[in-house]
């Protein structure tokens, strides 16, 4: 066990444990979207879980830090909050904010984080970005809304962690990136439970069962 300081409070944690996980377990909330418990190599792609660590130059993503003795972590400095707010606003600018009609309403990752960071759900200074493509219309069990998707990749983590071959992928590039499935061969190797497990990993209900 290693002793570390989080917001001036002494915490005991296992050496080598994931810092974000340790913070969350001990009641220090850090906004995060792309993290799943037990990940081997966190993608650190949502750019929300920033913290400041003494001896580091600037804020770092806590999901990619492992615990070592003597770590001094601060979770709510102004630079951290500034980075988190900009990251969230950018995500919201490409998100179809239509909460009343969204199955994730009130259990949505974005809503939780927006409330925590005191950011409005419709940031005014940013242009709204919408994708024209529809996603996965031909999939028998899943529906996908590219304009709700925050591309956190959690569904892919679940999908690639399961037995056998994955059936979901990132397709295209840049602003056009979407989650996609391909062909029928991949489908036959997958059980319905595996489909719903991937859908359940979605923090914003962009991916969900078709009858939703």
């Amino acid at each position: 066990m290693a002793k570390i300081l989080i917001d001036k409070k002494e915490i005991e944690a296992k050496e080598g444990a994931n810092l974000l996980q340790v913070c969350l377990k001990n009641g220090f909330y850090i906004p995060n979207l792309c993290h799943l418990e037990g990940m081997d190599s966190p993608p650190a792609s949502c750019r929300l879980c920033f913290v400041e660590i003494e001896e580091e130059d600037g804020p770092v993503t806590s999901c990619s830090v492992t615990v070592r003795a003597g770590l001094k972590v601060t979770t709510d400095t102004p630079p951290v909050r500034r980075l988190q707010r900009s990251a969230l606003k950018l995500l919201l600018s490409a998100h179809d904010v239509d909460c009343a009609r969204c199955p994730a309403n009130k259990k949505c990752g974005l809503q939780t984080i927006a409330r925590f960071l005191k950011v409005g759900l419709k940031p005014k200074q940013l242009e709204q970005l919408r994708k024209e493509t529809e996603g996965m219309e031909d999939h028998p069990f899943l529906r996908y809304d590219p304009n709700r998707c925050v591309l956190c990749g959690r569904c892919l983590q679940v999908c690639h962690g399961k037995q056998g071959q994955p059936f979901l992928t990132f397709a295209k590039r840049g602003f056009d990136t979407v989650i996609a499935s391909y062909g029928e061969k991949d489908l036959s190797n997958t059980t319905y439970q595996e489909f719903t497990a991937c859908a359940q990993a979605c923090p914003v209900a962009a991916l969900g069962p078709k009858n939703d």
Binding site: Q165, T169, Y182, G183, K185
Partner: protein, 185 residues
């Protein structure tokens, strides 16, 4: 008319079959390694001009990876296309100069005239529309290239003219073929 579409459909099917056989024969030239994914796709794109859905499945099976992964990699790169190129490929330049001079209007004109969107081809595979970043002759903006010829100072009326030109050419060829056939008999 229906007879001609039937023959073209049959031709297309035969072409696709030959293409898949050609790809199958060439797969064994590559080691079954994940690192060969992009080289394999490049080989198919180079030989056949696009990646047919069946080819993606064949590559996935050969390399023992999921089809969706092959699709993910292929869509990442601009060099791969998923629909066959048209017989006449029209490229509309939307580089800076052409953009300023209304290249998007020219693109829209072609799209409306041929009733397809950019990146698609007409059902008879005669025409395809692509959009490109810069052709290199900005002084002629807005520019389109039709097959290999550069068309400068494009205007909506020129769009009509180009398509009409190809249609007249095609009708003339059909008439000559008919005459030849009659002559042989």
């Amino acid at each position: 008319m229906s007879e001609t579409t039937k023959t073209t459909n049959e031709e297309i099917l035969a072409e696709e079959k030959a293409m898949l056989e050609d790809i199958a024969a060439r797969l064994s030239g590559f080691a079954r390694e994940r690192a060969n994914l992009v080289p394999l796709l490049q080989m198919i794109q180079e030989r056949h001009g696009y990646l047919p859905p069946d080819a993606i499945n064949m590559v996935a099976e050969y390399l023992e990876i999921a089809s969706c992964e092959v699709y993910g990699v292929a869509t990442f790169y601009n060099q791969f296309r998923f629909t066959p190129p048209g017989k006449h490929q029209i490229k509309i330049c939307l580089g800076t100069a052409c953009h300023v001079k209304g290249g998007d209007i020219i693109l829209e004109n072609f799209e409306r005239k041929l009733e397809i969107r950019e990146g698609e081809i007409t059902p008879d595979r005669e025409f395809g529309i692509d959009r490109v970043a810069c052709v290199g002759c900005c002084a002629l903006a807005p520019v389109a290239t039709v097959d290999e010829s550069v068309q400068g100072h494009m205007a909506p009326s020129k769009v009509e003219g180009i398509i009409l030109g190809f249609q007249i050419e095609k009708e003339r060829e059909a008439r000559e073929k008919q005459k030849d056939d009659a002559g042989e008999k």
